[in-house]
Amino acid sequence: MALAVDFAVQGGQMLLVIVLAPFLTGILQKMKARLLRRQGPSVLQHYRDLLKLMRKDVVLAENASWLFRAVPYVIFAATWVAAALIPTFATGLLFSWTADLIAIVALLGTARFFLALAGMDVGTSFGGIGSSREVMIASLAEPAMIMIVFSLALLAGSTQLSTIAQFMVSPAVGLRVSLGLAFIALTMVGLAENARIPVDNPATHLELTMVHEAMVLEYSGRHLALIELAASLKLLLYFSLIACIFLPWGTAPPHAQWQAYGIGLAAYAAKIALGAIVLAVFETATAKMRVFRVPTFLGAALMLGLLGALLLFVSRGL
């Protein structure tokens, strides 16, 4: 009985992230439009876009290979599995021990690897530019993420996200310097990985300003729907990660009552809404950086992560 309940809760989380991801993107678009004094599309527009894309034909280039057709499924699977393993409204879910934070970061790396390969598959210069910039960003964002994971793991004594989340709620944590550094670094890495301003513009199709959009330029139909859903899912994943680690209050402990799950859901919704507001304001207020200033930006994130880990190696109290 308890196993069935746990299974239901884990399955509920996996469905929740898929259902919520396009809603999050919709809210972001609406808020950014409102801040620019436009009406903006409805918050459900992204769902309608995905359905529309699914109904369209797939238009493939003549020399697109089997890899090109398989990649959207792989990207979606990797991002969905990673997003489903991050505690949203409850920690200690049934399968949370199968992958720790390092494995989740590596799953996102898998998705990115295949996306970069897909960009190179058709053999155009647009795909090449997207892929080469994407691996440049990844070569700095991923080490920064690993150093953040190190700082968190050294603080909490574990790389399991549920353990880290429970540690953050406990009174042992305090306001640490390394936590502050990790928070700033995680925000910077999140902006870079999700192709948000100031690193990349998610709303453009000009080749000089795009990284993610360049790699998916040749995709259409249901493949494009999967990739867009995976991108929204990744944004929700990063929001959940920041919420789970740095705003851990309200999350239901493992094997809790239904009320606790309800509170956890409400807390989660509030955290995501807060994150969406902050991101929308930030994106509207900042301009995109030149592509070769992105390494400086991410290098700063890597240095912050390294500094946080170094401080924890040197003294456990920091």
């Binding site: 238009v59 003549e62 089997w66 992958a99 720790d100 080469s132 440049m136 790389t159 070769f292």
Partner: protein, 672 residues
Amino acid sequence: MPGGVHILILQCCVLSLLTTAVAAIPFGRRPVGTALIYGASAVISAIGCATATIALFANQSEALQLPLGLPWIGANFRLDALSSLFLVIVNLGATGASVYAMGHGRDEHAPQRVLPFFAAFLAGMNLVVLSDDAFTFLLSWEFMSLTSWALVMAHHRQSDTAHAGYVYLLMASFGTFALLLAYGVLAGAAGNYGFEAMRMQHPAAITSAVVLVLVLIGAGSKAGLVPLHVWLPLAHPAAPSHVSALMSGVMTKVAIYAFIRIVFDLLGPPLWWWGIVVLALGGITSLMGVLYALFENDIKRVLAYSTIENIGFIFVGLGLALAFRADHFESAAVLALTAALFHAFNHSIFKSLLFFGSGAVLSATGERNMDKLGGLIHRMPLTAFACLAGCIAIAALPPSNGFASEWLTFQAVLLSPELPQWGLKLLVPAVGALLALSVALAAACFVRVFGITFLGRARTPAAADAHETDGYSLFVMLSLATTCLIAGIVPGFFIDAIAPVVQGIFAHHMPHQSAVAWLSIVPITKDRSSYNGLLIFLFLAVSAGLSACVLRLLSSNRVRRVPIWDGGFPDPTPLMQYSAESFAQPIRRIFGTLLFRAREHIDMPSPGDMRPARLDVKLVDVIWDTIYAPLARAVSLITKRLNILQFLTIRRYLSLVFSALVVLLLVVAIWR
């Protein structure tokens, strides 16, 4: 325990390989000789691999002494858990290379230059791992080096092979000399060359330090530690593809075996600062290797530099094991050593796979330069699939085996704040950052290799006319790809197989992984960290399948093929797509400007001028220019000065002999 059937079988295998090598001399020129010799090597290596696996699980130490070699100790051989593990690695790689060569070796122009030395090379590697005294070890090590040198020089008519062979011979001799000195210091004044005797001695701290440095030079140069790596990217590509796979995937592991045997086994309890030296060297090697790999266009060179990166990774694990052992953190030392050994095994598998793939591409197109390839996924789909599996494994992505060993190494790094020494406290996070950086750059490198070579459109007619390789090569490559997947999905079994080795060295081993629920791996305790490759793989497969089914129900199934859209600007030639250098340009700008003095110079003609624009990229091999070029100049200068000795008059020669005699007599007089 003397005697034992496994060591006898392995010695018979070595003897059969040597016989095969001798038999290859007359048979090599005949057309059936290739298949016979490689087939024989494959069978013998398979028997050796199976025997070594059984010996690894049996975990009994067997010894054998033959009345060859030095008269007062003979030739000693021993098969313990460490040797068994490395014999499995050697013979598995040898079997793969032999079966691959049965298909690939048909294209060889001069098989009589390759066949005898191939079997002898395999025999030499097996002998090194089996040796139990210094003399046998050094003899086998030199034999291994010389046979591989002969294999490197097999294509001696190609322009850069002679240079590669020369540098290789120099560095190999230098390495053997360092190992000779190391064994001399270890044997001590009593001259005990047997490993048993060396184990019993407890050398002073300064002696151990000297031996560590000499072993790092000797074994490290064979493995490819920076700055002794310069021969690797010259020699590994010059050899035939199956030999490159053996040299990169297997011979480097033999060097790692030598390091582990001397430093962990023969040298006694380590000191804390040994960890610092090995960690620093490993971290620098890792980063420099992958950066060099990103700036090369020759596929085999990229793979050779990537080997250097992975060797750095392994040495970081070994350094952590030394540091933990010196501070008596047994469980952490065990984890670090297991991670290093697991990565050694994984690397031999996926590096062989990638070299076989590059050999297939070379024989299909005649090109090693990535900039002349492209679109091969359409012409060679199975090779492309196998190489994709290899690239996923080497980029350390789940659920492959590369990720499993990288995960274990990171878990070991996370245990290191317990180390009390300040040098280690400051070095380990820096090395952790270097490792993370090199893993991310390795992923970028292999996106580049796979994307430029196999994806896109063909850049030259040679690439457009490629054909799929033969059945033997495909069989070996797909088997290796399957092994990568299995080792990634159930790493627990492999960790348990490595446990006897670690037990033999540290008298302690990791918790039993096969007993963990759902086949996860739990390196320390369950609430600290765990990883389940099988479930992750199942989740990925189920999610992908589920999304495919749902889309099949909900969405349109029609697919139309149209010309490339490309933003409305169709490229006039396939050369307009990204080339290998352009793909690496952002990374070159970030990392290459300082470390490689990378400079780009654009020569843009003024409007109206019809000549083409020109982009010059200049990269400097900093290590060669700072260490080796001045060394070569100094040696050249000294030899020029000393050349006068060739042209003295007879009286001068006589006075030289006379003064030498007088000096020696003086020394004898003063000493007494």
